[in-house]
Symmetry: C2
Subunit: 214 residues, 2 copies
DNA sequence: TGAAATTATGAGCAAATACTTAATTTATGT
DNA sequence: ACATAAATTAAGTATTTGCTCATAATTTCA
């Protein structure tokens, strides 16, 4: 439970096929254990046991419990980034209008967050993460904001003044709302289709609005 | 560390002035300790020590560590609710236009979340809370949505169709965005005034927009 | 005053927990 | 086949944690 955190690198990196599988199995088990027990109660022994691997093996490839959580999160970050670029690719190829483009974006983010909502929540909020991971998260978000801005800028109906701030708010909004919606899928009284539509409507209105509208 | 959770009620409720002070001191200390150590590392012994009270005394008035966190959170919930009703009072008395009203609302929520952002984050996200607390949180949010809807409805420039869903999205948006903004006050590259203004602008645009705007 | 009720004490327990290490098994390449 | 490197094992350590309980101090009120 204590933060010893002496070792920062794993003792071994997997070189044989066997151990690469072991690492994968451990991460898979960790995801399941964290998902069903939370971070604090997701003990390393339980993870090892679930992976069908001895606790010693686990500590060969992960220097600490924290390292496991970080590895899991990095995976998720990479996937989100991949998803975003996939979206950009689609937008460039197919000629979508603004509504369709934003609809795709919001839907994609919602699906992203809906995948393992509890695990993501645990990793992002319940787990005390090292500073560098927080930095990485912030940078990823800023990168996303720029990417979105680059695409949105192309649509003529979008007002151009203050687009910097506007896109920041939009990315934050989509991120927050989809995260929130996906995190509590049960106690929502709005169906997903309507929810996505409303969010898109709000963003479009925001993008078009005259800034002199007191 | 373990979740024993046998006892659900405190052994004693404070009846003398002395013990009432003790309870307050414990809660104050708990807030400080959680804020600086997080939930897991915010041990009951540390809380008692910080409060200048023996660990036994702490357990006279709080049956478990969890109970302390819940008490702290209930305090915060009550304050939020108070704040909301105060806002409604102001709106009814003074005749604000839509922009002013929403500006007050967003600012109020932001101040609310900015008060002890780290503590709130720890209590809301890092702490494993019992189900009934989650229920209370959801109910509080729905209550807030209805209150906001009741006020917004009065403004003639607001479109009337689908206001149910619209207000749900608005409350979620304000809640999420202010929470997020307040949680990471350092790494924001948008000043607070501009942030609030942008959010209000978005909401107003959303409230006015024609729903047939593909 | 003095006895009953309330409040405070803190050493210590039982139950974890993250992690180590010495020994063993399995794979690799020649 | 065989020596070396890689991978796995699981019993065990040191530490921490939430919490109890027997005792003592203080307050209340007759």
């Amino acid at each position: 439970m204590t933060a010893r955190k002496q070792r920062l690198d794993p003792r071994k990196k997997p070189v044989q096929k066997r151990s690469k599988i072991t690492v994968d199995v451990i991460l898979l088990a960790a995801a399941q254990v964290f998902e069903s027990h939370g971070y604090a109660a997701g003990t390393t022994n339980r993870i090892a046991s679930r992976a069908g691997v001895s606790i010693g093996t686990l500590y060969q490839y992960f220097p600490s419990k924290e390292a496991i959580a970080v590895a899991l999160l990095e995976r998720h970050l990479a996937e989100t980034d991949h998803r975003l670029h996939e979206w950009v690719g689609h937008m460039v190829v197919e000629q979508h209008n603004l509504y369709e483009a934003l609809h795709d974006y919001v839907t994609g983010m919602l699906e992203m967050h809906a995948k393992q909502p509890r695990l993501q929540h645990i990793l992002l909020e319940e787990t005390p993460l090292p500073e560098r991971v927080h930095q990485a998260l912030i940078e990823a978000e800023q990168h996303a904001a720029k990417t979105v801005a680059g695409l949105i800028r192309l649509y003529p109906e979008v007002r151009s003044n203050g687009l910097e701030h506007t896109c920041f708010v939009i990315v934050q909004t989509v991120e927050s709302l989809t995260h929130r919606y996906a995190a509590h899928p049960d106690d929502q009284f709005i169906p997903q289709a309507i929810f996505v539509d409303e969010v898109v409507k709000m963003i479009i209105a925001y993008l078009k609005c005259d800034s002199s509208s007191l």
